[in-house]
Amino acid sequence: MADMVNITIDGKNIQAEKGKNLIQVAKENGIFIPSLCYYEHIEPPLGTCRVCTCKINGKFGPACTEKITEGLSVEVNSEELKDTRKALVEMMFAEGNHICPACEKSGNCDLQHMGYELGVSSTRFQHLFKDRIIDFKPSRMVMEHNRCIKCLRCVVDVKTNDGKKVFNYQDRGNETYVGIDYEQEVKLTEEQAINAMKICPTGAIIVRGVSLAAPFGDRKFDMESVQKDYNKKKTTHKNRPPVMGKKIVATVSLAGCFGCHMSLLDIDEDLLDVVELVSFDKSPLTDFKEFTSRCHIGIIEGGVCNSENVETLRKFREHCDVLVALGECSVWGGLPSMRNSIPLSECLEEAYLNSATSEPGASIIPYHEDLPKILDRVYACNEIVKIDYYIPGCPPDANHIWKAVKNILWGEEYSILYSEFKYD
């Protein structure tokens, strides 16, 4: 019989096995402590991502490196701690270049999952857009350094049959990346290679020729939250006085694909309500080119990639009481921001001069005073104007949009279901 001791988690008395890992004990007792680098069979625990930060005996510390001792007192769900952990996950999104809609691991990605669980709709940090390479040299694998969160799992866990490491940290500081050994990588068995891809909490390690594909909705993290009370979380922004009469809405698509506008239409029969309750001012739906009145709400799709986008966005800020950033591109740059780590000239030359379809010598890079000027990079909307609310997704779920808008316009209480919270 194991040595049992008494501990408290958020004031709740718990009997637990001495020396056991705190995350494990919390999980067994139905208490959710978010974690990313923690992997049950890796000992000692890695303690790299810090997402499991709690207050342990009054001091901040990661739960994963804590062994159970008699009288241990743990605080998990204070507002401060919840916000701190959320900030850490946001930091990872801001630091890497995580384009969920274009990622093989989407739906099976631990990082994305944590984003959903913690309700990250936008990162408070400006994305860093650091130039990172994709390493195609390994014969078995592709290393997607844009997606790596440096959790150390693969470094510690993946070894060849003669005990040699395949992955190791390289460089340091914000230049740190996980390098792959081309010689050792070849020696991995198929099973070992697939295991490396599986233990990666993001899509940084991809094994060539192995598909992760599962239909949307059936992927690992599509369905249900691990937190029992996830869908009970009510959100309201109560201090907003309800507006009388018909609400006036403006919408626009900047550097976006109109996909978010399409998603707006997906609210099905609720559309009939919308027509009753709302009228549209400047919007692609009305084709009004200019504002005709002040609007209660402005919905922005897409990021800011040219001078015209900047002007339009400023006009929206001036004419709308509330601005909502709709969809990944608007929230932080999204797909168009894939160009942010590449010099503009390289992008333009590739697109207009060196592409397969351009005739050598016959093509130019368009420039005319009537054309909007391309910015040095794609900016998130909140870098240009103040944004009040964010709705993530590519595109955002129609219900998510409609619930958020209803809340903003009429102060209706709402909760976003786990399945309605998506980045892809």
Partner: protein
């Protein structure tokens, strides 16, 4: 080595750093074949060796020139004319910083503080020190090197600049040291007696953490596992700090004897001095002292005729990494790995070097321990103030007439110290380096002691005062610090690796006049998050000076804000954002 030397058997990889150093010094870089050979020798994947090499900034994978020049870019160097010196080096050598000139003669690189803040601007050429540089001197140096002079023959001997010791010949650290006396006193007291003395004299970790030394030694002594190790942390990387440099240059023997006393007290046979790469020029000093001790029979078998007490010391060179000053990162580095701090799963006194009980102390702590045993408890505790007995070494640099080392009695006020060093219109003072606390001149009557943990009343000082006058722009100082932390973070934990980068971006925003009230709040909140969640002291303290300065220089920060902010961010610079595209104008 004499026959009765205690031989330390250390497993393979621990020697890797030394081999890499040899290659780096011999060839100016470490090539692919060498990497493969070393990997084979230690039975590692090449990626692991590459990981180690790329971690330390004195190791290079490309040639670094016949003369490798490292110019210090710390904030103190900056205010002493760093930019001019940088330009002069570039003009004279024909190389740009971060590269080697076409002939492969000169390689120019920047490096954070090299421990010569009292004689800035300074540089290392092939790891030999050159101090108090000015444009003419740089020209002369490059000229001499071009004419075949060796850096060794023309380098400077940095001054010790010991400016102040307690009056009445009461210096604890710098009086004459009698070889072997402290050790024989220790032997008379016995191991428990030594620990008791340290308890009475309240010696605490002088690297800046102030953990009671007796507790650490006792914990190590009580460990049953063998062998045990004594490690001296001589990786003085905190910008603005150079007290250990002076101690090692003048008091190598008290350091050695301090380590031996520790070995005697905890039952260790072997000590290692982890000396930062920047101090390579001090290595011979330490080697000489160690050799002398061996020759005198004070080191080796039955040291100082203490039956059954064998002890020896070796020196391990660091290779350019600030984080290796963190004790567990230092242990990793000693083991020939990347200097990544360990989790706190075990303490070093339980499982330290090679997973064996290890005491790690700062140079000054060992020196103080030796002095305490030499002079006796009673005399020692008469110095300083109750609760904080003894003296403390402080490295003073920046805007003052007399930069250098000040051995002050605990209890001295900031004002007294500023007077002694003839500070020039001090306004902002950075205590204990970038990771420490900053104080405003309004707080000049605070005492310097180790009493107050939260440093609200007294100031606990790790060892340095960097003084800035009113002409210095605080945001520039903070940007220098944040660049330092960004590149010195080991990269293993998220808040430190990403956080320092994020903070730097935000400070740039402030510097460019784009920030508003909300940005200041965010800076404060994000700094706190890093402090609460980082894995080791680096990340936990990287934002200290930012948090403190925002509290203490409130008006200054507000004067930096964009006052017209109305949600439109009108300062967004369209011209700059479209500049690149404009070149396609027909």
């Amino acid at each position: 080595m004499p026959a009765d030397t205690v031989q330390l058997v250390e497993p393979g990889q621990t020697q890797m750093l030394n081999q890499l150093w040899e290659l780096q010094l011999k060839n100016g870089f470490i090539n692919d074949n060498d990497i493969r050979r070393i990997a084979e020798q230690f039975n590692l994947a090449t990626i692991e060796v590459e990981g180690v090499v790329s971690f330390y900034h004195f190791f290079h994978r490309k040639p670094t020139g016949k003369y490798t020049i490292y110019l210090n870019n710390s904030i103190v160097a900056d205010i002493k004319g760093f930019n001019r010196i940088k330009e002069t080096f570039e003009r004279e050598t024909g190389a740009g910083f971060g590269s080697v000139d076409r002939t492969g003669t000169f390689g120019l690189f920047l490096t954070p503080c090299i421990g010569l803040s009292d004689q800035e601007p300074s540089a290392l050429i092939n790891f030999y020190p050159f101090i108090n540089l000015n444009a003419i001197r740089v020209k002369d140096i490059i000229h001499a090197l071009k004419n075949g002079a060796s850096p060794e023959s023309i380098c400077d001997a940095p001054a010790d600049n010991i400016r102040y010791t307690p009056p009445g010949d009461k210096s604890i650290f710098f009086k004459k040291f009698i070889d072997g006396k402290a050790l024989s006193n220790a032997a008379m007291l016995g191991a428990d007696g030594v620990i008791e003395v340290l308890k009475k004299t309240e010696l605490a970790g002088r690297g800046g953490a102030y953990f009671p030394t007796w507790k650490k030694w006792k914990a190590a002594k009580d460990q049953p596992a063998l062998p045990k190790y004594v490690v001296c942390n001589a990786d003085e990387g905190e910008p603005g700090t150079f007290k250990d440099r002076v101690l090692m240059n003048t008091q190598a023997k008290s350091l050695i004897e301090g380590m031996m006393i520790c070995g005697y007290a905890i039952g260790a046979e072997y000590g290692i001095i982890y000396l930062r790469g920047e101090y390579r020029w001090l290595k011979s000093k330490l080697d000489e002292a160690i050799d002398e001790y061996r020759k005198k029979g004070l080191m080796g078998k039955d040291c100082g005729k203490i039956k059954g007490f064998d002890f020896d010391i070796r020196i391990q060179m660091g290779a350019g990494s600030y984080v290796c000053g963190e004790e567990t990162a230092l242990l990793e580095s000693l083991e020939g790995k990347r200097g990544e701090p360990r989790t706190k799963w075990f303490f070093p006194v339980e499982k330290g070097y090679l997973q064996k009980p290890t005491v790690i102390n700062n140079v000054e702590t060992f020196c103080a321990a030796a002095r305490i045993l030499e002079m006796g408890t009673d005399e020692y505790i008469q110095m300083g103030i109750p609760g904080s007995p003894g003296t403390k070494l402080i490295s003073v640099s920046g805007d003052c007439k007399l930069p250098g080392i000040y051995e002050i009695e605990w209890g001295m006020t900031v004002a007294e110290l500023l007077d002694l060093c003839e500070a020039d219109d001090p306004y902002y003072i950075q205590v204990s380096g970038p990771s420490g606390e900053c104080i405003s001149i309004k707080e000049k009557y605070r005492r310097i002691s180790m009493l107050d943990l939260l440093a609200r009343k007294d100031i606990r000082c790790g060892g340095s005062f960097m003084i800035f006058n009113k002409q210095r722009d605080l945001v520039k100082v903070l940007l220098n610090f944040s660049e330092f932390f960004k590149s010195e973070s080991c990269g293993i934990c998220t808040p430190c690796r990403a956080g320092n980068f994020i903070i730097q971006r935000k400070l740039e925003r402030l510097d460019n006049g784009l920030a508003n009230e909300k940005d200041l709040e965010e800076l404060k909140s994000w700094s706190t998050i890093m402090k609460n969640t980082s894995r080791c002291g680096l990340g936990k303290t990287a934002t200290n000076s930012l948090i403190f300065s925002m509290e203490k220089f409130h008006e200054y920060f507000h004067s930096k804000l964009d006052k017209d902010f109305n949600g439109l961010n009108l300062k967004f610079d369209m011209e700059a954002a479209t500049e690149e595209y404009e070149k396609y104008k027909i």
